[in-house]
C-alpha cells in the first residue's frame, strides 16, 4: 500500500468488551473518537505498529489499517465504510444514542 493517493494511515479495531469502534492514539491507548487517532505517514510503520497491538487481543479485536487524509486539523477516512464507523449510522431512528426512537 502506498501513500500517494492519501496522506496518512490509521489503526482501528473493535473494543473486545463493548464491540465499539476504537482508534489507536499516539499514547498507545484506544480512543473511541477518530480525532484522537494516531496517524502514520507510511504503511510500513503502520504495519509494524499493527503487529504490536495485535498482541493485546483481550482489549482490541481484529485491528486493521485504513487510509485517511488530513483536511486542516480534521482527519477524514477515505472510504464510506470508515466514515460511517467514525460517525455512526446515518439513519435517524437507529443512531447509537437512541435519539428518535419512540
Amino acid at each position: 500500500m502506498s501513500a500517494t493517493n492519501h496522506s496518512c494511515f490509521v489503526i482501528t479495531g473493535s473494543l473486545t468488551l463493548e464491540g465499539s469502534v476504537a482508534y489507536l492514539d499516539s499514547d498507545g491507548k484506544w480512543s473511541e473518537t477518530l480525532d484522537k487517532a494516531a496517524t502514520f505517514s507510511d504503511s510500513e510503520t503502520a504495519e509494524d505498529r499493527l503487529a504490536e497491538v495485535r498482541k493485546a487481543e483481550s482489549i482490541i479485536t481484529e485491528p486493521y489499517i485504513f487510509p485517511a487524509e488530513m483536511n486542516g486539523p480534521r482527519l477524514t477516512p477515505l472510504s464510506t465504510r470508515e466514515k460511517l464507523r467514525a460517525e455512526g449510522p446515518s439513519t435517524r431512528l437507529r443512531r447509537p444514542d437512541g435519539s428518535g426512537a419512540l
Binding site: L17, G19, S20, T61, P89, L93, G100, L102
Partner: protein, 552 residues
C-alpha cells in the same frame, strides 16, 4: 404453540452457561478471537460495524406475548431500545456488550428462546408462511412439521459443520407461497396425493446471494412419515459432496447445478434407502403430538364477517385504506388476520422499539390469543382478530405508528441493515428505503400501482432479497462510491423468478428517480389497472423498461 420439554429447557440453559464461560475466557485473554469467533457465531453473536450484534431465533416466526415482552426488556436493558426483525423471521439486537450476552441468553431461556444456530454453517431457523394456521388457502398447518425439523436439526451432530449455512422453509398452501420456499436450500410444500394422503413436495437448491437460483423439484410427493429421513438423506449427500474449498461455491444450489437434478436425486434416493425405515420415521403419534401444540385457539362461534369487512374496505377513509391492504381473510368465521406494518415513513424496515413491542404484546392478548407472527417481509401479524374489533385495533395501531396501509405495496419494502450497520455491505440501504417511502407517500398512488414488492440489499449477499423483488435494488461499490443496480421481474412466490439487472448502476442521487421512471413506464404500458407490474414486465420484457429508465 410448542412448549419446551424439560430436555429443551435444560439444553438451552446449559448452552447459556457454557457461553458465559467462553466469554469469560475471551475477556481474560485465555481465548484468542480466532478461537472465540466460531463459538460466538454458534450462539448468534456477530461483530458488526459499530458493535456486537445478537441474532435471536424465532422458530417459524411465532412469538407468544410474554416472549415479545422479554424482547422489549432486552432491547431496553441491554441494547438501545429497539430490535430489528429480519428476513428470516428472527430478531437482531445491534448494540449488546459482550459481557452481557450470556445474561441475555439466560433471560431468553426463561421464555423458551435462544440464539442457537442463528449463524454458522449449520441448519438455521426453519421458516414458514406467516399465515400458517389461519390462511384460507391452506391445505394443512405446516408448523408441526417445522417444529419436527427444528428438533431434528438442533445440535444434530452430523450437521454442525456443513460446507455452508443451510435454510429450510415450508408452506402449507396449495396455490400460493408466502414463505419463498423456492429460494431456500430446501423448500417444502404440503400437498395431497391422489388418495388424499398428506405429504410433501420437495424443492432443493434454491437461494440468493451472489449465485441466485430457483429451487428445483426433486420429489413430487414424499409421504408424511418420511419427512425427516428424506431431509437427512439430502443433508448427507450435501455434507459429503458440497464444496469446502471455495466459500462462494459451497451452498447446495451449486452442488445441485453441478450434478444435475437426476444425478443429485439418485444420490439422495440411494442414501435414503439406507435410512428410510429407521427410527427417523415420523409416526402418526408424533404427528398428533406436534399438532396438539398448534391446535386452533378457543375461537368464538361468530357469524361470517366477510361482508362487514368488505364494507369497511370500501370506505374512502384511512380505516378503509388500511382494511383494504392490511386485513387478511381468516379461515375462521368472524375473524381476520392483521398485518402490522413495520414500514412506517419514519423508521427502517423491521425496526420496533421496546415500547412498541410491549404494546404489540398487549394488543395480541386484547385482540387475540396472545400470539404474534414475524413475517419474512419484516412485518408482524396478529393472526386471530375478531373482525368486529378491527376498527378499535386500527386506532391503537395508528397511535403506535404501525398502521401504515402499505402491505404488498411499493413501500412495504424489505431492506437489509446495509452499510449503516453491516460488516459485509458495500452500500447503505436504509437511507434509500427511507427516501423511497418519503417520495411515494400517497397511498392512493400506491394502490393504483397495485401489488408489487420492492427489495433492497446493501451487497451481493442479498439479505434484502433483491433478486426476487418485482423491483430489486442492489447496493454496490463503484470505484469507492456507493452505487445501485436496478433489477426488475423477480418473484418469491409460487411463480418464483429472478430479477434481471436493467442496465448500468445509478449513483445514490440517481437511484430513486430511476425507480420513479420504471414505475411511470409500467403505468404507461400496462393493459389495464388490473395488470400488475410483474405481469406487464413478463408480457413485454425488459426493453421498454430500459428505454423508459435510461432513455431510448
Amino acid at each position: 404453540m410448542y412448549k419446551y420439554s424439560e430436555y429443551d429447557s435444560t439444553l438451552v440453559r446449559e448452552r447459556a452457561q457454557q457461553f458465559r464461560d467462553q466469554v469469560s475466557r475471551r475477556l481474560s485473554g485465555e481465548l484468542t478471537e480466532d478461537e472465540f469467533k466460531p463459538l460466538r457465531l454458534q450462539n448468534g453473536l456477530y461483530l458488526q460495524l459499530h458493535a456486537y450484534m445478537l441474532r435471536v431465533a424465532i422458530p417459524y416466526g411465532l412469538l407468544a406475548a410474554q416472549q415479545m415482552r422479554k424482547l422489549a426488556h432486552i432491547a431496553r436493558t441491554y441494547d438501545r431500545g429497539y430490535g430489528h426483525f429480519t428476513t428470516r423471521q428472527n430478531i437482531q439486537f445491534n448494540w449488546p456488550e459482550l459481557e452481557q450476552v450470556p445474561t441475555i441468553l439466560d433471560e431468553l431461556a426463561e421464555v423458551e428462546m435462544h440464539a442457537i444456530q442463528t449463524s454458522g454453517n449449520c441448519i438455521r431457523n426453519t421458516t414458514t408462511d406467516h399465515l400458517a394456521g389461519v390462511a384460507r388457502d391452506e391445505l394443512a398447518d405446516p408448523r408441526p412439521y417445522c417444529e419436527m425439523v427444528r428438533q431434528w436439526s438442533t445440535f444434530h451432530p452430523e450437521f454442525a459443520f456443513l460446507p455452508r449455512k443451510f435454510k429450510i422453509a415450508f408452506t402449507g398452501s396449495a396455490d400460493s407461497d408466502r414463505a419463498a420456499i423456492r429460494l431456500h436450500d430446501i423448500g417444502i410444500q404440503l400437498v395431497e396425493n391422489e388418495d388424499g394422503e398428506l405429504g410433501f413436495r420437495v424443492f432443493v437448491g434454491g437461494g440468493m446471494g451472489r449465485t441466485p437460483k430457483v429451487g428445483k423439484l426433486v420429489r413430487e410427493f414424499l409421504p408424511r412419515q418420511h419427512l425427516i429421513s428424506y431431509l437427512e438423506a439430502i443433508l448427507r449427500v450435501y455434507n459429503q459432496l458440497g464444496r469446502r474449498d471455495n466459500i462462494y461455491k459451497a451452498r447446495i444450489k451449486i452442488l445441485v447445478d453441478a450434478l444435475g437434478v437426476p444425478e443429485f436425486s439418485a444420490l439422495v434416493e440411494k442414501e435414503w434407502e439406507e435410512i428410510r425405515e429407521s427410527s427417523l420415521q415420523v409416526t402418526d403419534a408424533e404427528v398428533e403430538r406436534m399438532q396438539a401444540f398448534f391446535a386452533p385457539p378457543a375461537y368464538e362461534t361468530l357469524p361470517d364477517s366477510d361482508a362487514a369487512v368488505a364494507g369497511m374496505q370500501a370506505e374512502d377513509t384511512p380505516l378503509g385504506q388500511w382494511a383494504r391492504n392490511n386485513v387478511v381473510p381468516h379461515k375462521q368465521s368472524g375473524y381476520s388476520a392483521v398485518v402490522l406494518s413495520l414500514k412506517s415513513y419514519a423508521s427502517p424496515s423491521g425496526d420496533l422499539s421496546d415500547k412498541q413491542m410491549e404494546a404489540v404484546a398487549d394488543l395480541s392478548e386484547q385482540y387475540g390469543f396472545g400470539e404474534i407472527i414475524v413475517t419474512h417481509t419484516q412485518d408482524l401479524v396478529l393472526p386471530d382478530v375478531r373482525s368486529d374489533a378491527l376498527e378499535a385495533l386500527f386506532t391503537a395501531l395508528v397511535d403506535l405508528d404501525i398502521a401504515t396501509p402499505n402491505h404488498n405495496r411499493l413501500t412495504d419494502l424489505i431492506c437489509c441493515p446495509g452499510l449503516d450497520f453491516c460488516n459485509l455491505a458495500n452500500a447503505r440501504s436504509i437511507p434509500v428505503a427511507q427516501e423511497i417511502r418519503q417520495r411515494f407517500d400517497d397511498i392512493d398512488y400506491l394502490d393504483d400501482l397495485g401489488e408489487m414488492s420492492l427489495k433492497i440489499s446493501g451487497c451481493i449477499n442479498a439479505c434484502g432479497h433483491h433478486h426476487v423483488g418485482t423491483i430489486g435494488i442492489l447496493g454496490i461499490d463503484k470505484r469507492g462510491e456507493e452505487a445501485y443496480q436496478l433489477m426488475l421481474g423477480g418473484s418469491a412466490g409460487h411463480d418464483a423468478s429472478l430479477g434481471k439487472v436493467l442496465g448500468q448502476a445509478f449513483s445514490r442521487e440517481e437511484i430513486v428517480p430511476a425507480l420513479e421512471k420504471a414505475l411511470k413506464t409500467y403505468v404507461k404500458l400496462r393493459e389495464s389497472p388490473e395488470e400488475t407490474f410483474i405481469e406487464t414486465f413478463r408480457r413485454l420484457g425488459d426493453k421498454p423498461f430500459r428505454e423508459g429508465v435510461y432513455g431510448a
